[in-house]
Symmetry: D2
Subunit: 352 residues, 4 copies
Amino acid sequence: MSDQRIPVAVLGATGNVGQRFVQLLEDHPWFRVAELVASERSAGKTYREATDWRLGARMPESVAGLKVLDYHAELHSPVVFSGLPGEVAGEIEQRLAREGHAVLSNTSTHRMEPDVPLLIPEVNPGHVAAIEAQKANRGWKGYIATNPNCSTIHLVLALKPLQDAFGIEGVLVSTLQAVSGAGYPGVPSLDMIDNVVPYIGGEEEKMQSESQKLLGGYTAVGGFAPASFVLSAHCNRVPVRDGHTECVSIRLGGAPSPDDVIAAFEAFRGRPQELGLPSAPPQPVIVRREPNRPQPSFDRDDAKGMASIVGRVRECPLLGTKFVVLGHNTIRGAAGASILNAELFKVEDLLP
Amino acid sequence: MSDQRIPVAVLGATGNVGQRFVQLLEDHPWFRVAELVASERSAGKTYREATDWRLGARMPESVAGLKVLDYHAELHSPVVFSGLPGEVAGEIEQRLAREGHAVLSNTSTHRMEPDVPLLIPEVNPGHVAAIEAQKANRGWKGYIATNPNCSTIHLVLALKPLQDAFGIEGVLVSTLQAVSGAGYPGVPSLDMIDNVVPYIGGEEEKMQSESQKLLGGYTAVGGFAPASFVLSAHCNRVPVRDGHTECVSIRLGGAPSPDDVIAAFEAFRGRPQELGLPSAPPQPVIVRREPNRPQPSFDRDDAKGMASIVGRVRECPLLGTKFVVLGHNTIRGAAGASILNAELFKVEDLLP
Amino acid sequence: MSDQRIPVAVLGATGNVGQRFVQLLEDHPWFRVAELVASERSAGKTYREATDWRLGARMPESVAGLKVLDYHAELHSPVVFSGLPGEVAGEIEQRLAREGHAVLSNTSTHRMEPDVPLLIPEVNPGHVAAIEAQKANRGWKGYIATNPNCSTIHLVLALKPLQDAFGIEGVLVSTLQAVSGAGYPGVPSLDMIDNVVPYIGGEEEKMQSESQKLLGGYTAVGGFAPASFVLSAHCNRVPVRDGHTECVSIRLGGAPSPDDVIAAFEAFRGRPQELGLPSAPPQPVIVRREPNRPQPSFDRDDAKGMASIVGRVRECPLLGTKFVVLGHNTIRGAAGASILNAELFKVEDLLP
Amino acid sequence: MSDQRIPVAVLGATGNVGQRFVQLLEDHPWFRVAELVASERSAGKTYREATDWRLGARMPESVAGLKVLDYHAELHSPVVFSGLPGEVAGEIEQRLAREGHAVLSNTSTHRMEPDVPLLIPEVNPGHVAAIEAQKANRGWKGYIATNPNCSTIHLVLALKPLQDAFGIEGVLVSTLQAVSGAGYPGVPSLDMIDNVVPYIGGEEEKMQSESQKLLGGYTAVGGFAPASFVLSAHCNRVPVRDGHTECVSIRLGGAPSPDDVIAAFEAFRGRPQELGLPSAPPQPVIVRREPNRPQPSFDRDDAKGMASIVGRVRECPLLGTKFVVLGHNTIRGAAGASILNAELFKVEDLLP
């Protein structure tokens, strides 16, 4: 019996995020990896030959024999997942969208454009409406939709229930980010043995602007209206493989107690949970009550890496409420986010 | 020619902080280690036999042959440095102070008591006046003086010039703390390989209360009057041997620019610099201008571990100003702080 | 429908190895965890309350509510898995064996006794015959059977096919061992950040004596006859959570080429593979051909942690052949080894 | 008064080894850094601008303002220290030697050439005689002299006293090597967090061939005659910043006891010690008697990083003797080795 699943392409397939796409799409009920795209260096080789597989002992057999295509190849898959490096993403993603593909991108290039949705299905599913405007504006047959930066997404998943329940007035976040967020080879080991680096280029700015777009509104007439709260970020790199930990202090409306805040986290469900999307975590935000959790080594894989794990909810003497949020940065923080977007698009009948 | 230096005792001499005392006091111009005190397990052995020396390849020869005394031993040194564990410190330190010793303690036990000075010579040298009150209140011949927690001291060294120049309204700090702060064996390696722990018991409370005492006033009549700003801390343990990194957002009076803030840091000098104390760093606060500094592996030993290193001074969209401060947690954060206190006491003629 | 699986007890259930037993036995087709035993400190609490679960985000629900029993409790499970600390194991395991339980122990205490089998089902399944002798000698209703040290077992799994194919004359092994082998809290982080420790107490001796017993013979009359080759080990602790890496140089009979050696590894199958035991890896020894594999982070979970992964098979100018072997130290190196033994015993009708 | 010290140039001055040269040469009694050479990218900038200084908080002030020269610059210093990357070293070093400079190189390029000395002053000072032959053969005014690979040098410093006292028949060594040996950026952190890599390209071959050249003879007529013992190496990369740890098993002549071996290590002195060269360690080989030493974090800086630290000397059941040797890989293992060579050349009147 033939495979009825929708064929998808993965751009940047040999890289860190590309490998995660391939891993997460193995045995996906709706999609199958049909095309793998990478740079000249890899093109023409089989995926097995081209790839230094770094997610466990071995790559899925089903893709190992696929020939890797180059950036200029004509693609036949209606859905294209992109884990391209920022330097090359712009043009390639645009060409594919113009030609009629649904391009679901991890790259920051297009995230803040005024007709490109930056999407977390639990948070702002209504922003998919921007796709129509984008196609019209640009005269494209397909479109680009993006998911947020790996540190933004877990913060915003935790902020959304608080915004809904109390309103957000200001946020201060300090991150302890894993090295896989910088790709491979990425961060040198001489920077990460007995050390932390209190700086990640561009990251603090992204957390600010992306959070406001995600938690803001969208109307066909007015376009995106960023949320009005102020957010300030300190971003740090720490010697952890996977899993970003974020310390959040927040000023909420109505001075809720920690118990109120916990209740809001635990009650939170979004469209993916309503629709029962295959990659949706049962609860988008999981609350830990131990004094010393969440921790990346133990909690990043909870809910298959698709949830945000909150802990240490308590009073902040300065801003009212503080807590820690942790999430897997290459699953829900990257490839898994794009896949969940694609699942939403399928149900909403937005795929080509 | 006989050694004219003041004999000192080190309590808890075999532990992490005790070893640091021994190391820093080698070749000290004013003090010499004459007595070493540790628990039953070590007492009676030579220091070499009793100690698993962990600061480089070998301990100073000058102390290796000293016999370790037990907690009940009568001490002959007028100055006693204490790196005792909190559980046992209280009683022993009190007994020694009662008997006439100047006890300079790293332990948290007595820090917040209403007649015990919690001292950073650059920050609140006037608090030494509490010693008189303490002796009078308690009928002691000697006294206890304390230095702050290892994460508090570097924060407060950075806050002091800002308090003086602008006034402080509120502070939010997230720490990335080294494991040596927890002693040895301390933090298990299974908690620190590919992991961070977003919790250190009691640390957040200490940072809050100690900062307010340090930056507050003292009068003979009214005692200590804590500073009125609000401080909120998130404390994290990270896989770093030495050097606490702290991300600070702060609301200052008069909305100073980052350049104003940098100027205040760089202009700052305190009593130890005026007096030319032997362990005083030339500048208490050193400012780095690179985008990605300070970092513990590179900067913790600057100014022999006695300064606080500030970097990334920039605007905070929420609180006005943000920066990073880093400092060595067992030098200026522990043993070096007590020694600098003792140097101040000597010049101020407060030693027995 | 009632659960027909054999009830088992886990001794030392709250520790590192105990948790691994509980994890691996969840959904086991033949065994179900019925009794959990730990020290006084935990006894009387539920397993959830007593345990700082350290294998992922949460413990299996099926055991969380079980009451933890103390060391003196009467057990009702015919099969008892022991992950007890060496200090207490001896007496408790003996009592339970005397009373009629099959005690499958990870502890080193009884491994080298002349009537206790030290067993790897792929290597020396015939040694189960010692059980009869043991019961007779000791007048016990039950018995003790042991599995090897976590570094020994992966070495011996790799040696067995070489012994069979070529004969072994001498072995030199240097290990790079993970910290989970020392339990929790185990190795202090101050020993493992920017450091290695070239010493593990007793480990080198165990590798030597256990390997010779495992690869030696057993007869009802003569008992155990250790293999005659000489083995020398250098044991090192490195900053890795799980997965022991071992560099092996070996003198084999008949001067086989690396290709001959690889062929022997790949052809190797043992009793568990013949019998299709539920925890048996399809291949006990997996060969990697990349120049830089196996590596613990990527390969330790291959074959669910139950295989030994070999790589870099090449000529040794001194001893003839060299290679690297890696394996998971708390799965095949501890709990998984005991479970595979129990599976063999069930099929061989040796369970009470 | 003018600086009478010999001006020296450093090639590859901005790299890891180049920085170490600059650091070690600050305040050197005989040499002063006069010229700094690096690639196009750095040339024309000051050393401060061109260099991401990674050895502590800040570079020596004395060199910070020097203009960095490019690879083609004419140099005026008679002595040239080279820390060039292998790809570019060959041609540049040859040109400078031809022009009359004494080129002391860390690079592997010329090490094994039949008229280039590979030198450890304690081990084979007589090999300097090859310099005459080299100049004659090649018609050069200057010459190239090399120092060994960072893992070879510490092994050979430990082997030399054993060769002299007992004779060496065979050596098996497994290394645990620090990441600084691979330069910066070098080893990616994703390879070194919770991981080890049992492979370093070309390293095992270098240890074999270099050891034999170093411990072999040289005669004007016959050239180099490699030592005849067999050496086999397993090379591993581990998450350590500095300091290579090596586990050695060795077959010696006459079956010496561990005490005999220790006595040979401790009695060992070489030409640098006789001559009192400024960078010479008082003892080339230091023996530790604790069961768990040496360890990189504690022992690499002993004797200012210029000695090899031996420990765990004991019987090897297979080869007779085993021990651990540790040394600093960028001090005695690289820049410090070249500088000691230059000091020997000065005393031997071999500098231009």
